[in-house]
């Protein structure tokens, strides 16, 4: 009881005094690292874009595939991970009355582990010993240090997950029978998903280490790919869920409205957690060794994730319309004028959401076997994930940064930086329309992904790709301007903006809502259901791969 009082006192105290200094330091460090990585990763992306347009020849000491591996690892794994934890822990600290000292230790240890991991991964790439792309599919064989680095990175992620679990469990003990506040509920879902998604890839990497050291001669390629995608797919969806949390929780507040149905929000989170991991198979539609009925089953499993995702789109537009009409918006579409388009925090989130419509449509197309045979391993795929990751996720993260960074730094968002942010958001959007549009189109014409510039001996088809590659380079150039502006804005807000209070904008639940049922808090149960779904999806193909395995493959260094 005493701790409970203590706790509520502390909650009130942080609400009054703003951010907790020590917790702010955690989030600041994570976000700073995240945006530095974005800067480096952006230049690597630009180098690729210019190379593929035939405008830039990369030096022999840093070839296309080194750059590509680094760009993939930096953007997909590092930028996103550091940002997500900086953001989630700021929210946990804000909502749950400050982080526990024990949790802080977890998060700092995690930070060290991730940095060590990142260094260990980058060294062999720079030595040209690990050009295996971020997917590190065997039989491509990297230097052992690369895989060991991945283990450190994964341990860092796990420690962050566990820290969040401890924080939430502690809050629940002190607030018996209450629902975990909505932001922390999102954080719980995200951490649960990440914790379990890391298990398959950890198993894979722990097998690849002795293989790359030469202690084990061969590796089962299909099992490795399957374990990888159980993770890789889920990871992407974790970033998506992180972006979603801002749409649900933050966006309504920014426009002066209330959240969408609390119950249904929590149901969406549970559904996304339960059904996500099995979606990994849609990355293996063209893989041999999986029978057609199993692939068929997985089409349904993938599309099942589409359902809660679509619910999300519907929910958000409902919230926007309701709020805008309350503020006097009229007409079928006239209410759109009531939205704060000049506010970067809203604009970036809005474009992030809107881009999910074409991105999701493309994703549904790719899930279909026949359509995927046309676009598999072409630039179309690269166009697709620059929409999902490069816009839906990245713009959501950028939009968040315009209040989160001032919040943790005890500073304010100035009108100048807001304006800069609006410009940045449009540059980024136009750049991505160019780049991703060109990638989609040229992919349909057959231009392969993951291939440095070549004209295939001046083959007519390949020459026909060049105009699109130019458009891609133009998009990439706009994007690097966007990256520079964004990083500048972050640095400014972190260290130079005027001091002041910034709010952590969490929207209230809707008025006269019916109470949320308590079963939404039973994570133990939902985790078991998730494991059952995973078992259902993976037992058939994995048994087949292992029992009827072909001879394993030795490693290859093809570069």
């Amino acid at each position: 009881m005493e701790t409970a009082i203590n706790q509520t006192f502390k909650t009130k105290a942080t609400k009054l005094l703003g951010v907790n200094k020590e917790d702010a330091k955690i989030s600041k460090t994570y976000l700073f690292v995240s945006f530095v990585i974005l800067l480096v990763g952006g230049f690597l992306g630009l180098a690729q874009g210019l190379n593929r347009a035939g405008l830039l020849e990369l030096p022999s000491w840093l070839n296309y595939y080194q750059v590509l591996t680094m760009h993939g690892v930096f953007m997909l794994l590092a930028f996103t991970t550091f940002f997500t934890f900086g953001y989630l822990y700021a929210g946990l600290s804000h909502e749950l009355g400050g982080l526990l000292p024990k949790v802080r230790k977890f998060v700092w240890t995690a930070f060290a582990s991730k940095i060590i991991g990142a260094v260990l991964v980058v060294i062999p790439i720079l030595m040209n010993e690990a050009s295996v792309m971020y997917t590190f599919y065997p039989p491509l064989k990297a230097h052992p240090m690369f895989y060991i680095g991945l283990v450190f990175f994964a341990v860092g992620m796990w420690l962050c997950n566990v820290g969040a679990f401890i924080q939430v469990a502690n809050w629940r003990k002190n607030n018996k029978g209450k629902h975990v506040p909505i932001f922390s509920y999102f954080a719980t879902g995200i951490n649960v998903l990440m914790f379990f998604a890391l298990i398959p890839v950890a198993i894979e990497v722990l097998y690849l280490i002795p293989w790359s050291l030469g202690w084990v001669k061969t590796v089962n390629v299909m099992v490795s790919r399957t374990l990888f995608w159980a993770f890789g797919h889920t990871l992407v969806n974790i970033w998506y869920l992180t972006a979603t949390s801002a749409w649900y929780v933050i966006a309504p507040k920014l426009i002066g409205g209330r959240r969408w149905s609390d119950t249904l929000t929590r149901v969406v989170i549970i559904a996304l957690v339960i059904m996500n991991i099995t979606g990994g198979f849609h990355h293996q539609i063209i893989d041999p060794g999986i029978s057609l009925p199993v692939k068929m089953m997985h089409v349904f499993m993938s599309l099942a994730i589409g359902f809660p995702s679509l619910m999300t789109a519907w929910a958000m537009f409902a919230v926007f319309e309701k709020t805008a009409r309350k503020q006097g918006g009229k007409g079928l579409i006239g209410w759109y004028k009531k939205m704060p388009w000049g506010d970067v925090r809203f604009l970036a989130l809005f474009i992030s959401m809107a881009s999910f419509a074409p991105a999701g449509a493309g994703g549904i197309a790719q899930t279909t076997n026949q359509l995927d045979t046309v676009v598999h391993n072409t630039m179309w795929i690269v166009g697709h994930f620059h929409l999902t990751l490069g816009v839906t996720v990245a713009l959501a993260f950028f939009g968040i940064s315009y209040w989160l960074v001032p919040y943790i730094s005890g500073r304010v968002l100035t009108p100048q930086i807001n304006k800069l942010g609006v410009i940045q958001t449009w540059i980024w959007t136009i750049g991505m329309i160019f780049m991703s549009g060109a990638m989609h189109t040229v992919g349909l014409f057959g231009s392969p992904r993951r291939t440095s510039f070549t004209t295939y001996g001046d083959h007519a088809t390949a020459l026909g790709w060049n105009p699109y590659m130019m458009a891609m380079a133009v998009g990439g150039t706009l994007l690097i301007i966007g990256v520079i502006l964004q990083v500048y804005a972050v640095i400014n807000m972190m260290f130079f903006a005027p001091r002041g209070e910034t709010e952590f904008p969490i929207a209230e639940a809707e008025e006269n809502a019916s109470p949320t049922p308590y079963w939404t808090e039973r994570w133990g149960l939902w985790i078991v259901v998730m494991l059952l779904v995973v078992a259902m999806a993976y037992v058939v193909p994995l048994t087949e791969f292992i029992v009827n395995a072909p001879p394993g493959s030795p490693g290859f260094k093809t570069w």
Binding site: G177, P293, E521, I527, L532, A535, M536, V539
Partner: protein, 185 residues
């Protein structure tokens, strides 16, 4: 009434020959998807009868034990390789499969579950864990084909299906034993 209709529709859908044929063509889908779904259809349909004839159920299934025993016997029977084979070869056994799993397993499960005390529920969970472990081990380790209709690889797959399900139940049991709900709720 609504639940009854949903249950009936599900049962009919599962029994449509092309669907039934497709599900039965893969051993693990036959046992781990079709059969539980038939039970679930019965589970949904039971509500109507429980509301109409409460006295009947009170009289015969007062503490839930007779009902759950019936459920265990029926489900246990359908985990045997021989019964699956028969269902595929004999039309009458196939009909019995649908009738028994819905009426004699789904119905009593619904009626008994809330009558059972927590000891009963735990015993049931533990019983199924052991059953699944044993059957799983049997299917994985059997050196010969146990069903005329399914290859050894399918048998092994089914075995792993049983083992993973058992593992999930064990995780759940550990979770409810070692977390003290009263601390949080």
């Amino acid at each position: 009434m609504q639940q009854f209709i949903y249950g009936l529709l599900l049962l009919i859908a599962l029994a449509i020959p092309p669907i039934a044929h497709f599900m039965e063509s893969v051993m693990i889908i036959h046992m781990h998807m079709q059969m539980p779904m038939v039970v679930f259809a019965g589970f949904l349909m039971a509500r109507l009868f429980m509301d109409r004839f409460p006295r009947f159920f009170d009289k015969w299934n007062g503490n839930g034990v007779p009902g759950i025993l019936l459920f265990v016997i029926i489900v246990g029977f359908w985990t045997l390789p021989r019964s699956m084979d028969d269902a595929l070869t004999e039309q009458s056994v196939e009909v019995f499969k649908f009738v028994s799993l819905s009426l004699l397993a789904g119905f009593p499960l619904r009626d008994s579950w809330k009558r059972l005390n927590s000891l009963g529920k735990n015993i049931l969970f533990i019983f199924f864990t052991i059953l699944f472990l044993v059957v799983g081990w049997l299917y994985i380790d059997a050196p010969v084909q146990l069903c005329n209709n399914y290859l050894v690889i399918e048998q092994i797959t089914l075995g792993w299906g049983f083992l993973t399900t058992a593992i999930c139940i064990v995780i759940y049991l550990i979770y409810i034993t070692f977390t003290d709900r009263t601390k949080y709720e």
